[in-house]
Symmetry: C2
Subunit: 379 residues, 2 copies
DNA sequence: GAGCTTTCTGTAAACGTTTCCAGTTCGACG
DNA sequence: CGTCGAACTGGAAACGTTTACAGAAAGCTC
């Protein structure tokens, strides 16, 4: 298909069709030409298997038709559902999607923001896990439109889509307390991250609203992974004092399941991965879910249906956040042709969390609330 | 930071530093210049916050420094681990990663292959789920180097990295038979895909090697998802005749678990998602894993550790395949500068599957093989 | 068929780099 | 101090498009 001398360019087509390169370009972009010209150009292009060079087109047009999505870890199902949405909307408008896994490395996140200036990408959707002053500065001076998925200080002049994860965490904890659980442990991700801090705040305020206070022995801080969730639960039960007896730090706690059950009767986890790990650990200790210990997670990812029993989780609208973020970004791009975003008009949308109750928290041991339907969505 | 009149270019820097644009380019690329020139250029660049335009650089250099990875569905953890590897190797050599989710749509896969000609991407790693003549033609005429993850006809002039999934399926089925299972059902993905066909072939040959033959009532064909796996298992138990009694097509089989147990004592699933779905369905019918029914999957994805009990699975080396594919592609790019791949020298690497035995198949009901360690790797 | 408008075409410039080539500067050596 | 070679520099071309502009052709009206 390819003539000798490399891939065909607009110039090659022009020669073959006996017209100028301008006419070739116009025909190929449907900008009107005489019927005869159109026919000759299209025939030459088809014969030579011509494909326009997207790089040259980008340089000339000033837009790369690429978007970037930067997230922490592509292994987390939350991001998977965001990617799906973003990819789908982007593709519909002719944009390709560049993926960046930052591994929560601060320098990587900043590098992504700065690299917007290299014209590779027309816009960015980013899920920063921490917000530092450098982040804010980088966001302010970003060379192209940016949409942040996550909570930002309100004065930040950046489009964002957030979810009220404090309220989300409260929903879950209230649900556990209202179904008769008394000793609700909390397994959190890193406390110095935005999600970590918010989820802890929700946990605490939910307890306080019921007249309880946080027992530090019931709170664990670790990474957002399955393995970390399992380890945290083991540590919790090994070290937590039982509700009515003194702590037993020396004996093997696994040998005495009833003691465990007394120490904790529910675990709220800051995301589904942690919850799945916790469920594993409970199973391996011979504790029953939800009869002995109820488990609830957050994100309502596909993992909730991977776990047994199916996992109660707070839907933070990750797919929806992805969709909204993509729409915001595409709006911004079509609107002002991708000029630097006018700080005055930064938009913020908020997704309302919903609790999805499944079997991992129903059939409460004491309270009569067990008649809830497994898939019922509260609030 | 930005002077009026738009983003700084090499020309802006040249004016500020009082040198020519050629010198600016040389300094910025470390091609040697007088100390004084270097200092002035670097100072001007820093002051103006200059970032080179990657698009212009691509056009001039003929390489975009982008790679594309095309897979079926980003929701499948198998692809996630491939993406991780590819992204990491690509980044190490300065390449960005473009992601394409084809949803197993033939036209999309072909479009990706053809779009290599647009110079957006320097190379492609693709996981085609079916191989049609059009695929082969598109691979042959691809404008840039391509590496295929998956099995190809041996005459195809394309680098590829495959896994012997026939042998992998045999490993799992042999393991089930050798631990005393007699009625081994098979839940497969679409039979007209390469993975689907191979896994079925492995299942059949494993049975035949033990003097058994395939019972069509024990084989289900569906999609590669959790939900499909659950539905398939329910259908299997509802419709399969019990081993020793006549089939009971009318009564609700779930009400009679012993009948189910007689019908099937093991399920081999063509991937982990199907296996997880099957495990869900078994749990919801009150059947115990592995005491009543053993479950084994394929891919050894993160889902194996998400399931309870932990899932026996065949490791098809997805991370390794990703790594090898990335290395092959990068080799090809550095080697011949990314010219069309010389068909004569197509390389093929094969990853050997390993069976990872976990609790979902141990503790066999009849055989004394239960002393295997949970994490033991066979072969 | 002349004059007008409309439509179409080709030349050339522009997008921002890198790099070839020739010319200039510099240092060293005789 | 003059000469030679090496190191450096600037002008210009090239990468492949799109598009502004001016000029040519075609269609229309009278």
């Amino acid at each position: 298909m390819v003539t000798t001398g490399g891939t065909p360019t607009v110039e090659t087509i022009a020669e073959h069709a006996g017209v100028s390169i301008a006419s070739v370009s116009r025909v190929l972009n449907g900008h009107g030409a005489r019927a005869d010209t159109v026919r000759r150009v299209e025939r030459a292009a088809a014969e030579l298997g011509y494909v326009p060079n997207a790089v040259a087109r980008s340089l000339q047009g000033g837009r790369s038709m690429q978007l970037t999505f930067a997230m922490q870890d592509i292994g987390n199902p939350v991001y998977v559902s965001m990617v799906r949405q973003i990819q789908s909307l982007a593709k519909a408008q002719g944009y390709r999607l560049l993926l960046h896994s930052t591994d929560a490395v601060l320098a990587d996140e900043l590098a992504v923001l700065r690299s917007l200036a290299d014209r590779t990408s027309d816009g960015l959707i980013i899920c920063p896990i921490r917000i530092t002053p450098e982040h804010l500065e980088a966001l302010r001076t970003a060379a192209r439109p940016v949409v942040v998925i996550g909570s930002l200080p309100s004065e930040a002049p950046v489009d964002s889509v957030r979810t009220d994860s404090v309220a989300g965490a409260r929903l879950a904890v209230h649900h556990l307390l209202d179904t008769g659980r008394r000793r609700v442990a909390f397994i959190n991700g890193p406390a110095d991250t935005v999600p970590g801090a918010n989820r802890y705040a929700g946990y605490r305020s939910a307890l306080e609203e019921r007249g309880l206070s946080v027992d530090p022995a019931l709170v664990r801080t670790t990474e957002f992974t399955i393995e970390a969730g399992a380890a945290a639960l083991h540590a919790l039960l090994d070290e937590a004092p039982a509700a009515d007896t003194a702590a037993d730090h020396t004996a093997d706690a696994a040998a005495e399941p009833r003691l465990d059950a007394a120490a904790v009767d529910a675990v709220f986890c800051a995301n589904d991965q942690l919850a799945l790990g916790a469920a594993q650990a409970l199973h391996s200790r011979g504790l029953r879910i939800p009869e002995d210990v109820a488990v609830a997670g957050m994100d309502d990812s596909t993992l909730t249906r991977a776990s047994w029993p199916p996992l109660t989780s707070v839907d933070l609208g990750s797919a929806e956040r992805g969709r909204i973020a993509a729409r915001m970004l595409l709006d911004r791009l079509s609107q002002d042709g991708g000029d630097a975003p006018p700080p005055a008009s930064a938009r913020t949308e908020t997704v309302t969390p919903r609790l999805i109750v499944r079997a991992s928290t129903t059939a409460a041991p004491t309270a009569p609330a067990a008649e809830r339907l497994p898939e019922e969505a509260c609030r």
